[in-house]
Amino acid sequence: MELTERDLIRNCQKGDSAAYEELTAKYYRRVLMVILGIVHHREDAMEVAQETFYKGFRNIKSFQGGSSFYTWIYRIAVNLAIDFQRRQKRAVADSRENMDDVVVASESLGTDPYRELRDRELGERLLAAIDELTPDHKAVILMRAVEGLSYKEIGRIMGCSEGTVMSRLHYARKKLQEKLGPDL
């Protein structure tokens, strides 16, 4: 019988690491995406994402179920990523170089190679542009555009009002549109 997410969380709270492995398998890519958008550097993103899930495991007993698990784990992820980004003094050029190294495995699995190439070019410019935003602006647009979280959920994660989320999003989108110009 397939366990529901609530069952998995309950098992995790009893110390079941296999249940936590399942939850991690379900969300690690989505969490990694948002972190990668904030910290930009691939290895740093992996490190922060692993730390996120480790902290999640340690604190799972305090998870009350008032929000969904992914909102809860996102809060940990975004806070860690923003802290990390603020601490980092890494040169932007270095970060970009590392982003280019990534091998995209799924491209080889039966998808249209021309679309992938076009998307990849735009994606690279977009990720370079997003790196020039502040961590707070990055986090807000990533949580909305990538995850589709509501302003309320984003506000809860970021510890700010829905109005602040709205104005940060407006600013971030405007900046990215300016950077990308007619390519968009």
């Binding site: 991690t24 398998a25 890519r29 495991f57 799924s106 491209e107 735009l122 690279e124 990538v146």
Partner: protein, 176 residues
């Protein structure tokens, strides 16, 4: 501020479904009539979609096994509950009155851990877990999809690496 400037301030929130009903209706009506604002709406949609695609592409090769290994390593660095019990018992030895409890507790714990398998840390997952992969001259990706409980090990031919590694003959009956 022109009508268009005002509407474009709200366009993003409107697309996100976050505007109050009355304002949402106002934006919708304007966008239906105004070509410039309709184009701006499409640009926002494209931006969000491109951002999502770009990040999805960059994490698609992030295999679960090494990721989980990193998390598990961090968890393992913490003291296990069993270790904490033993530490507590060791502290107990310092008090002569409860010293006799140490061997009894040890017997209980060992017996419990050796007979009660499917509990606590040992509860099985309902998906395959890959414990090791060694691609001989091939890039290997691990895909895991929780909904369908699918685990895929995928091999990508990598000519450069392949050429660097001499062929390693292996007897088929050799235990590996």
């Amino acid at each position: 501020m022109s009508d268009c400037d005002r509407i474009q301030e709200w366009l993003g929130a409107w697309l996100d479904g976050e505007l109050p009903q009355a304002r949402s209706a106002e934006v919708k009506l304007h966008v239906e009539k105004c070509a410039a604002c309709a184009a701006e709406k499409v640009r926002i949609q494209r931006l969000d979609a491109a951002l999502k695609r770009a990040l999805e592409a960059r994490v698609s090769d992030a295999a679960f096994a090494p990721f989980w290994a990193g998390v598990r390593e961090r968890i393992a660095q913490e003291k296990s509950p069993r270790q904490r019990v033993f530490d507590w018992m060791r502290r107990g030895v310092a008090f002569p009155r409860i010293a006799w409890g140490v061997p009894v507790a040890a017997v209980v714990l060992i017996a419990l851990f050796s007979t009660i398998r499917p509990s606590g840390w040992f509860v099985p997952s309902n998906q395959a877990s890959v414990e090791s992969i060694d691609g001989h001259g091939f890039n290997v990706a691990l895909l895991r999809e929780a909904k369908t409980k699918t685990t895929v090990i995928w091999l990508f031919e990598n000519q450069e690496t392949e050429d660097e590694n001499p062929v390693e003959p292996a007897a088929s009956e050799q235990a590996f």
